[in-house]
Symmetry: C2
Subunit: 127 residues, 2 copies
């Protein structure tokens, strides 16, 4: 890709924001691979996240930018990022300082494990 | 938790669906930890996913249920699942058969890597 495609402007042009102007951002621990949380970004939050070295969200409840860790100290340092195939989700791999979750849990998905039915699938192969 | 909380009914009661009645579902490869894709589920898709052993989404573009792999063969067998701390995102860890992405890539996030600014953060500690 050329600079127009890899620069922030090109990235923002490829994103398909939702009706509220937001895109879901999956935050993954670059050390170990745990999915830490999902937040939301508008175009400016994406721009800041890609240029600032730290993750910034748009808080839907507070209607303001929220650079993770500025209050809690639990910053997320960007290691890598990717858009998905249809440009409507962003994945950011980070170095997480402390707990990602406001509950104090390392990950927001640590607090409410479910009990899905798990079936055997060992003998099946891709078609 | 008791059965009312861990059963499908209790789970659905805890979910905070969005205005369209949907919740984002992060699908993670249980073997290796890669984030494969993000899809959307309504209550019935969550119920099916937790009870059927395979991941079912609600397709926003086609407005229909979509059990991953029924057409492509690239099924997702549920290994575990969790809600996040505020009940508005679900994480499903799966055994992925073949490619998760319709492009043929293993993961939907393999096709459009970005180039964020990465800063040094080694000396910082949690506050």
């Amino acid at each position: 890709m050329n600079d127009n495609q890899t620069g922030a402007g090109g990235v923002l042009a490829r994103i398909r924001f939702d009706a509220a102007g937001l895109i879901p951002a999956i935050i993954q621990d670059d050390d170990g691979g745990d999915v830490l949380m999902l937040g939301w970004m508008d175009a400016e939050a994406v721009r800041r996240t890609l240029s600032d070295g730290r993750v910034t969200f748009w808080s839907r409840s507070r209607q303001e930018y929220w650079r993770k860790g500025d209050t809690s100290g639990h910053a997320q340092y960007v290691r890598s990022a990717a858009l998905d195939c249809d440009g409507d989700t962003i994945l950011v791999r980070v170095r997480q300082v402390g707990a990602a979750c406001h509950t104090g849990a390392r990950a927001c998905f640590d607090v409410d494990p479910l009990q899905p039915v798990v079936i055997e699938s060992g003998s099946e192969q891709p078609t």
